[in-house]
């Protein structure tokens, strides 16, 4: 199942925020075809670790290497704890903008929105959607684009049981197709998932 292409090597990562040690001595080697779940109590630094891996937070010690060609960001799909979408706009408008930034102008957002369970809500501004539907709108990006590395912060938050099952399948499929998934959750995806524990 897992090929031996090493995509991510992190050695002895340490991170401090406001004089508080979040994690230290953290090492991680991740290959294509793997699905990593980052677990730990609230405040253990899970979100910060994902932001470090995505290149959004640079105040860390240790070494971090992505073995990917060209601009790392071309291979990255990052969905943070915030939706990344403006509440005034509809899921469709938000997706179109994000697609344009990723050079996916030709990508068709409709099937992705349908897969995310938002059929019929494409043209409703996000302010009028529920928390779970907002999450689904940002997760519709899992069905768009060809990024190899997925970094997802709490993808299952506020999503209902049926939605969780759909997303689980999608994550497993992506890993099986040679991708790498790193996500935080208190929820394990199948037996293939590797766990990285943060915190004391």
């Amino acid at each position: 199942m897992s090929s031996e292409t090493c995509l991510l090597q992190a050695h002895n990562l340490a991170c401090e925020r406001d004089d508080r040690q979040l994690f230290r001595g953290l090492s991680l080697t991740a290959h294509a075809g793997e699905c990593w779940q980052i677990v730990g109590p609230n405040g253990a630094g899970k979100t910060t670790l994902l932001r470090v891996l995505a290149g959004l937070f640079t105040h860390y010690d240790g070494e971090l290497h992505w073995h990917l060609s060209g601009d790392f960001r071309e291979h990255l799909l990052f969905i943070g704890d915030r939706p990344g979408m403006r509440a005034e706009l509809t899921p469709l408008e938000n997706l179109n903008w994000l697609n344009a930034l990723h050079g996916l102008d030709d990508a068709d957002p409709w099937p992705a929105l349908a897969s995310a369970g938002l059929r019929g809500f494409e043209d409703v501004p996000l302010t009028q959607l529920s928390a779970g539907q907002k999450r689904r709108a940002s997760l519709a990006r899992l069905w768009l684009g060809e990024q190899k590395v997925w970094i997802l912060d709490e993808p299952f938050a506020a999503v209902d049981a049926a939605g969780v099952a759909t997303i689980e399948t999608r994550l497993a499929d992506h890993a099986a197709a040679g991708g790498l998934v790193l996500y935080t959750s208190h929820h394990a995806v199948g037996s293939e998932v590797r766990r990285l524990e943060l915190g004391p």
């Binding site: 990255l76 990052f78 915030r82 979408m85 509440a87 706009l89 930034l101």
Partner: protein
């Protein structure tokens, strides 16, 4: 140019969603300008002398007020970090945002300015020059203010700090901009002042987005 057109379209669309944020600075501009003739002696000579300066200061404050929210919602919604992880140079999306913002907030000030100039008994001949000075000047105000807005976006409330950061930087633009009409009324040639304003505008548009992008990275990476 990746990301320019979609970001501009999005900015205009967002402007339509938040009409109050577009209209309020415009009303603020109108109110401040109309208060001066009411509060001062409505003597045409006096009004004519202070008119260009009043219109310019009011436009400057209106632009600054409109900028406080420029990046805040993008920051809070996570759209800003999406922009940072996207494989694009930040320059063009930022330039598109600034252009969109100016079209919605700066351009209406330019269009209204001849009417307000008339309120200050300015002769019809210099109203064009007042509007042209604002046409060249307000984009500079938008760009320079956006640098401050980018830096203060991560702070809970940046309003007053933004004013303190940005107002000193507005001084040269104000001096040249407001000076145009005064010089013209005194019978001097104002082409050189317009050329200077144009040079400042070229500088702001070419280098400003880089500074804004750097500010956004700092705000987002805390």
């Amino acid at each position: 140019m990746t990301g320019f057109a979609p970001t501009l379209a999005r900015e205009l669309r967002l402007g339509l969603c938040a009409r109050a944020e577009i209209i309020n600075p415009l009303f603020f501009f109108l109110m401040v300008v109309t208060l001066f003739p009411l509060g001062l002696d409505p003597e045409p000579d006096l009004l004519r002398r202070i008119g260009p300066g009043v219109v310019w200061v009011a436009a400057l404050l209106a632009v600054m007020l409109s900028l406080d929210q420029l990046f805040r919602r993008d920051y809070e919604s996570g759209a800003l970090e999406q922009l940072l992880v996207a494989p694009v140079a930040l320059y063009f999306p930022v330039l598109a945002r600034l252009l969109g913002h100016w079209l919605l907030t700066g351009l209406p000030l330019v269009v209204l300015s001849p009417v307000l100039g008339g309120l200050f008994a300015l002769p019809a001949a210099v109203l064009d020059e007042l509007a042209l000075s604002l046409l060249l000047g307000t984009p500079i105000l938008t760009v320079v203010g956006a640098i401050g807005a980018a830096l203060t976006t991560g702070l809970g409330r940046g309003g007053m700090l933004l004013a303190l950061l940005v107002l000193p930087l507005y001084v040269p633009v104000l001096i040249f901009g407001a000076g145009v009409v005064g010089r013209s009324l005194a019978g001097y040639d104002v082409d050189a002042v317009f050329a200077l304003l144009g040079a400042l505008l070229a500088l702001a548009v070419s280098l400003g987005p880089l500074a804004v992008a750097a500010g956004l990275r700092i705000s987002s990476g805390d």
